[in-house]
């Protein structure tokens, strides 16, 4: 029995992460879900939120995504997201820039649902700002 998951995290312009991990926390449409090895085949749409990848007990990766899809089958997890932002490795300038962009988008946004998503995004960014 394997105790690791094969995880591929891809965006249209690049492959963001690929490798073996312990577990993954994903922001599924109907609530956060943690995927562990031996998970049942499962497919879900994702909302705005944080993807947390546990490499080992002490090592974590965190990405902010705008929504996307996750496909889980036979210890193989594939996550598709158009836009992602690294919450661990990004520099202060990157944070400033993206927070600024989001704030601008909030101002011009007319759609209530879109606005809500952007506000959540901003909150997550500010909470992770270091």
């Amino acid at each position: 029995m394997s105790s690791k998951l094969n995880f591929d995290f891809v965006s249209p312009m690049s492959s963001i992460f690929s490798g073996e991990v312990d577990s993954i926390l994903i922001p599924a449409k109907e609530g956060d879900a943690e995927i562990l090895p031996q998970h049942a085949p499962f497919m879900t749409a994702l909302r705005v939120g944080v993807v947390e990848i546990k490499l080992t007990d002490s090592e974590n990766l965190k990405f902010l995504i705008d929504g996307g899809f996750a496909d889980i089958a036979l210890d193989q997890v594939t996550l598709l997201a158009e836009r992602s932002f690294d919450l661990v490795k990004s520099s202060k300038e990157d944070f400033d820039k993206i927070i600024n962009d989001v704030a601008k988008d909030i101002e011009i946004s007319e759609d209530d649902r879109e606005k809500e998503d952007l506000l959540i995004k901003k909150e997550i960014l500010e909470a992770n700002y270091s």
């Binding site: 249209p12 497919m43 879900t44 899809f69 089958a73 598709l80």
Partner: protein
Amino acid sequence: MANLKELRNRISSVSSTQKITKAMQMVAASKLRRAQENVETARPYSDKLGDILNNLSASFSGQDNAPELLAGNGNDKSHLLIIATSERGLCGGFNTSIVKLAKEHILQLKEEEKEVKLIIIGKKGKELLQRDFGQEIIDIYDFSEVKDLGFIEAEKVAENILSLFEEGKFDICSLYFAKFESVLSQVPVCQKLIPFDIESKVSEEKDIENICYEYEPDEEDILKELLPKNLSVQILRALLENVASEFGARLTAMDNATRNASDMIDDLTITYNRSRQASITSELIEIISGAEAL
């Protein structure tokens, strides 16, 4: 014998043209490498998305309630053709080969008395198609200001197509672009976007079909989100393939041009030297025969 000065001018003008083509070739070569990397990084995403869609659509096959983007709206009267070309010329037969394929299909569709609408991406395609099919063109995208074609541009095109589809302006949509196979070969292809082309992959996915997935939210809702996304991703892929193909075509074209120019310079130099030699000989003969006459 041609005038010596004329020949000298021609040689210098050909060699400056050669310098330009050589520079363009080198620029194309370096840009090609980046474009190729982009195509390769975009591939996993669209492949995975295709896999997921195939799995999902298998559960819809034969049902009446499949979304229209997947199964089409049942008609095939009005066709929308999206023709992706380049913004710049001097890339060999790149644009003409795409346009040629598209033109064949347009004429065929017209013969069958179908309605044809065109969306063109790129200036060159517009130049080539405007004269014959100016009335059919409903939209033109010009990305010449955009430095790196990316997801944003693809999304723009996809959104437009989706809203046209929802308004019922067309029934079937296909996309024309040049697939990048290698530096030497770029193949113009036609890809069906709406309805979604399932068959192409089904055979190799047999073993995964048996897995019983759980869906959250249910299949229908996931498909509703996935299909528009797939559209943007397919267009993005086409755009990226096109960019790589364009540079590949330009690289080959400019390589040929550089080689032609150096052949031409060789020929001209020989003619130049011969006529110089001839004029020297005739001057010598004049001097000698003048001396003998004394």
